[in-house]
Amino acid sequence: MSESIGLPGHSSAPAVPPVPPVVPARRQWWRRPKGNPLSTALYLALLGLMTVIFLYPFVWAISSSLKPRTEVFDNRLIPRHWHPSNYLDLFRGVPDIATGVPFAHWFVNSIYIGVLAAGTVTISSALVAFAFAYFRFPLRNVLFGCVLGTMMLPGAVTMIPVYLIWNKIHLTGTQYPLWMMNLFGSAFYIFLLRQFFLGIPRELFEAARMDGDNYFSMFRRIALPLAKPALIVTFVFEFKASWTDLLKPLIYLNHDSQYTLPRGLYNLLGTLGPSNGGHGDYQIVIAGTVLATIPMIIIFFLGQRYFMEGIATQGRKG
């Protein structure tokens, strides 16, 4: 998308005589032969409307998180009374309900579990992916078929026995089940990284072998540095998955100081609600959701360059 397209007056084919309506630039099946101002205006209006629809919930959330309780539902863009202490209430507890909300704990837990989950899955998946990409060995295709097969398997099928395993070794009620299984790699990332390793010229590995590298140092010195973009994609994807997951924390955590942000916010929503004796202090829940979302947006902007590639390649395996 280096050149601007769709602008009237822009022409990349100057020498064409003014005969039939040849579509000039690129991919312009939507374009009338001569850029019709009406359709351009319509197009811009539609794009603007969609942008507003997609962004407004964020704006609404930020605005409502700064309002006092009684004004949350007035849906004004600018709060009539500013009430930024909602954010403080998250950390020191809601006055009337008197329970301290360990929001700071949830935040730290989410970061801690997210980093562990993403870090472990990146390393283990890279090891496994490298095995599938580089080595020739018996059963390779069968085993890779198993990797792809687990991608299709609905989580509900293994959910209960896996819970029973953790229960058996007395680790339910701890945070270990939320990340430890990532030590063993994850099918989607193995697939993603294998594709990437396959793209590295084999000569590089052979040269490293000539230099006397063993398989592992070859992996560490050649494969890993070259796969950095794919490793970043894996890390970011998994960090996001861990950060947003609700199901596992619901199953495994039972004390509110262990909660991750989604689990904590879920709880907060229930506690502050009217039917549990709360006053419907939604402004505090909204402040919590804003704080839970901001790190994701920061991560997104930091990793965007790699990220978009990673998402787009998903479609290519079709």
Binding site: Q28, L47, P262, I286, I311
Partner: protein, 317 residues
Amino acid sequence: MATVAASAPGPRVRVRRWASGFRSRETWAAFAFLSPWLFGFVVFTAGPMIASAVLSFTDYSVIGTTHNVGWANYHQMFHDPKVATAMKTTLIYTVMVVPAHVIVALGLAVLLARVGRAAGFFRTVFYLPTMTPAVAVGVLYLLLFNGDFGLINGTIAHFGIHGPYWLIDPNWVKPGIVLMQLWSVGASVVILLAALMGVPQHLYEASAMDGASAWRRFRDVTVPMISPAIFFIVIINTIDALQTFDKVYTAFFNGSTPYGTDASLFYVIYLFQQAFTYYHLGYASALAWGLFLVIAVVTAIQVIGSRRYVYYEGSKK
């Protein structure tokens, strides 16, 4: 096998040659690299699958004695009105959300394809909602779609439309959830945008030469050329929709809002309740296999049905 031409090595030789592969250093190294996954696969996937199948024939519930109950769980599944309701809810929702998702994603991708230089900015705009935690989406949904005070009904009231009670009215619960889900359409937009960019320009030029209208060019050039990406999105989102859990669970089953009615009882939510609220782990295992079967059948139908419509460049026919 034995009838292959005489010059080919016999089966025993081939087996021996194959088995000798296990002796090579490379194979040992490969399996060393594979070992984390092999362990995880056996302990956390293959083993649990077998265990889950076995459990589904018992009345296991963590405490108390366990009995072998034969097909009783599956029998109960077919006669449990809640299962029928949950399955119906889930299927209706899936049928609604998947086409809506594809149409909106395609529409947005087409819009973005035209933006040119600013595409990066708009791509970010449409992608950000997918970065938002599901619980946050559920919370926002609960507040924005409130029947009396919500922003949505407040906005459409300006146009003289009296908005429905999205959270309570059984007829409007599922369409509301579809709208919530459509907010998270961003990943599909990115995939489709990448596919759109890959369509060779000369095809458009050729069809324009033939006097094809914009719509014809879209229908007969663009859509076939990006059909693998569309197909991918259909499959992924169908599987996703059949397993809907977190957003709906947050919005409708949170102990503060009493909206958790049959209209929002999705299959996985019911399964989760059976497993971790009532600890009917045997029954829940049977429910999980029921879901597995439904997903497998639906996906198989889609794969077979797609053969006529999905065009893979480079493949024959």
